[in-house]
């Protein structure tokens, strides 16, 4: 199988996966290799050129101009021009599409093509960190007027081309020999649908797939000290959590939300749910310590305080809450069980409803009022806007706080990095005090490669550039 990589994914959208990188049901794994962004993140947290070779910002931070790389072609053969970028951005912002990136990019008013290779973005309000938003892996550039077909064709400029789209079976990707960063080293990638996590592990153990993006500490035991596998541990800003809908009782009461958070013994939860070293404690902020805007707040378990808050909210005999979770992530269940036992001490009776993995994200998440969730690492501005700004499409806590929204706006405008930092810190403080998300820790990711893979990506590289990977 030299020249072939097999990667498993969980088919979380049950076959409704779309190759449109902006779709709410985007085929995550595949779109990453099919499309390129204007800019990309480097391992040091900085920004490297992507399809754009350079960019300038106006003084009021409201106009950004990007110069595109010449000679890049889509898989269909069409050359990349500025109109494609304009089209992609407008496609992302189109409210009919309901794209989750829309809220991230909401700051952009419109884009225009100055010439074939120059694009200008006009912002609604000042934003000093626009490239930080554009490194979002979903902001792939699609060809002009491809909205109707992109779902199936996946026509991008990326290192791999689509050979067969089969989200419930095996999706075939083949190396793009004309890739502007040079041809990938592995000829074919197969993206394999394995919804069940245990089945994924078993497939890995039996050598049917080459890579598992994340396993927990306990599962690590299965692969450590095994010459067939290589395990990497990476500190990330990925976080799992349990989110309460702030628009529904009992969680519409801020005291309940606070109490729900105060009961957690975070280091202990890490040990129980992940195993030692499986993660870093978090204080309910989605911004991770590796982010320049991270606010270090400190949080401690306080059962009496939690009880007091509950009593104040009228729950004298404790409170019953229903937590919906699923084996879509094995961690969800153990985290829920740990939380259940920790919360019990404060009289919070957590009833765990375990629903199967298939369709969890469509049918349970953002539907029930208390659910497990999980986010991948994102830059501060992006995650705060995408998951917490009023009305954002993935605002899973249904959180709506004008103060918070305002601080976010101000932070963006601010061109002074120091002030910007403090403003982002303020938003995180608001979330910590009043928000609906319980974020007990950031995950250290353990990922497993089969020993067939040579030239492994670095441990700092969260988004693996598959084109650099080779097999023996």
């Amino acid at each position: 199988h030299a020249g072939l990589l097999r990667l498993a994914y969980d088919a979380g959208f049950g076959g409704a996966e779309s190759l449109d990188p902006y779709s709410p049901t985007r085929f995550y794994f595949t779109t990453l290799t099919l499309f390129d962004r204007l800019v990309q993140q480097n391992h040091e947290g900085g920004i490297d050129p992507g399809l754009a070779t350079s960019w300038e910002v106006s003084d009021d931070a409201r106009t950004w101009t990007f110069n595109l790389r010449p000679g890049v072609r889509f898989h269909s053969g069409k050359p990349l021009v500025a109109a494609d970028v304009v089209y992609s951005i407008h496609h992302a912002l189109d409210p009919e599409r309901g794209s989750p990136v829309a809220s991230t990019l909401a700051v952009i008013d419109r884009a225009e093509a100055l010439d074939d290779l120059t694009v200008r973005f006009h912002l609604k309000s000042a934003h000093a960190d626009l490239p930080l938003l554009l490194i979002d892996p979903r902001c792939g550039i699609i060809a002009e007027n491809s909205a109707a077909t992109i779902e199936r064709t996946g026509d991008g400029t990326g290192p791999y081309k689509l050979l067969r789209n089969d989200p419930e079976g095996i999706t075939l990707l083949i190396a793009n020999p004309e890739y502007w960063q040079g041809p990938p080293r592995v000829e074919r990638i197969e993206v394999v649908a394995i919804p069940d996590q245990v089945a994924q592990i078993q497939a890995m153990l039996s050598g049917q797939i080459d890579y598992l993006p994340s396993i927990n500490r306990r599962q690590l035991k299965l692969f450590e000290n095994n010459p067939d596998f290589i395990v990497q541990t990476i500190r990330t800003g990925h976080w799992p959590g349990m989110v309460m809908r702030t628009d529904q009782p009992p969680f519409d009461d801020v005291r309940v939300r606070k109490a729900m958070r105060l009961v957690i013994d975070r280091p202990n939860m890490i040990r129980l749910a992940l195993g030692d070293g499986g993660g870093e404690p978090a204080c309910d902020t989605p911004v991770w310590p590796g982010d320049p805007y991270y606010a270090d707040m400190g949080c401690h378990r306080d059962i009496p305080a939690a009880r007091a808050l509950l009593e104040e909210a009228g729950y004298n005999d404790g409170i019953d809450v229903d937590l919906y979770t699923s084996s879509v992530e094995k961690l969800f269940i153990s985290m829920a069980e740990v939380y259940q036992s920790q919360a019990a001490e404060a009289g919070i009776r957590v009833h765990i409803h375990q629903v199967p993995a298939d369709g969890y994200w469509t049918d349970t998440w953002m539907q029930e009022s208390f659910v497990s969730t999980r986010w991948n690492q994102r830059p501060a501005d992006q995650i705060l806007n995408e998951a917490f700004r009023s009305g954002a499409s993935w605002n899973e806590t249904y959180w709506s706080n004008p103060d918070f929204d305002h601080s976010l706006d101000m932070a963006r405008k601010e061109t002074d990095p120091v002030k910007r930092r403090s403003m982002y810190a303020k938003t995180q403080q608001i979330l910590f005090d009043e928000g609906g998300a319980i974020i007990p820790f950031y995950l250290n990711i353990n990922r497993v490669f089969s020993a067939r893979i040579s030239s492994l990506p670095s441990e700092k590289e969260l988004f693996i550039e598959w084109r650099r990977v080779a097999t023996q």
């Binding site: 592990i201 306990r218 035991k221 269940i333 153990s334 740990v338 036992s341």
Partner: protein, 298 residues
């Protein structure tokens, strides 16, 4: 070996109690029956007594003892949350035993009575009712179970009426078939000609002859339901965490089989021995009562 039925036939001193004792002796005198009865009784006692024996709280997690191999402190090791597998395994049958046992009893009763009545009544009513029964049989029971459990949200106890209803449907066929065999007997004709009401005929004349069949059927249903319930738990429709339940425990520990087999093997052994026990018991019961245990139920 004389089947118990014969022993009753040729014995001298007799009463219902004596009959039961004879059947019991017959079961125990067969190796298969003795093992089966032992396993069933063992598991039933365990389910009752579990909370007195468990050395640890079944939900108690211990981060320091994750996936530990069996030791004196944890004779069956610990699971991936550091819980004591021994405590969880001996408690793990409770929910399923209660639910399936109750459901099996209800199923045998309602299915049996309905079947017997149909077998007695016969004619068009019977014909049409059987078409309805066929219709229910045609749709996989599991589908109904899943549908009702997931839509009514009644939790695990909603399974009792559901399991009982759909298994009762299968019992109807058995009961009816057996009743048809009895209904043509002259003593039924005699009772009818004499002028006894249908209540008398069903309960006094037919039921005593059908109770053995229904008893064996009940045992087979019970075993089948144990299997079905464990499958449901395995699929995430049955018991909910952190309730210790064999099916759920097996499902949770499946991935660790290569490094921590004890977490899954023990519940699997317990679950299987109970089902084997019920099956052996049902077989022996069938032989003792001279009833052919029903052809496997699917």
């Amino acid at each position: 070996m004389i089947p118990a039925a014969d022993a009753i036939r040729f014995g001298t001193g007799r009463s219902r109690l004596a009959g039961t004792v004879i059947v019991f002796r017959d079961i125990v005198s067969r190796p298969v029956g003795a093992i089966g009865l032992f396993l069933v009784v063992f598991h039933l006692l365990l389910a009752v007594a579990a909370s007195f024996i468990t050395p640890y709280d079944v939900a108690l997690q211990n981060a320091d003892r994750i996936l530990q191999a069996p030791s004196w402190a944890h004779p069956m090791g610990t699971d991936s949350l550091g819980r004591d597998v021994f405590s969880r395994t001996i408690t793990g049958g409770r929910i399923s035993i209660v639910i399936t046992l109750v459901s099996a009893v209800i199923a045998a009763l309602w299915g049996g009575l309905t079947g017997v009545s149909l077998g007695l009544v016969g004619g068009r009513i019977d014909e049409w009712c059987m078409r309805l029964v066929d219709a229910f049989l045609a749709i996989p029971g599991l589908l109904f179970l899943l549908l009702i459990v997931s839509f009514t949200g009644g939790g695990v106890y909603a399974l009792i009426p559901t399991l009982a209803f759909f298994n009762g449907i299968s019992v109807i066929r058995i009961g009816r078939g057996a009743a048809q065999g009895v209904a043509v007997k002259d003593y039924i004709t005699a009772a009818r000609v004499r002028g006894h009401g249908s209540r008398f005929i069903v309960f006094q004349e037919m039921m005593p002859n059908l109770q053995d069949i229904l008893l064996v059927e009940w045992a087979m249903r019970w075993s089948w339901m144990m299997l079905a319930f464990s499958s449901l738990s395995f699929l995430g429709f049955g018991a909910t965490p952190p309730t210790p339940d064999w099916g759920l425990m097996i499902s949770d520990s499946r991935e660790f089989l290569t490094v921590a087999p004890w977490a899954g093997v023990w519940p699997a052994i317990f679950l299987s021995t109970l089902i084997i026990g019920i099956n052996l018991f049902a077989d022996a019961l069938g032989k003792a009562l001279r009833v052919n245990p029903q052809q496997g139920v699917i």
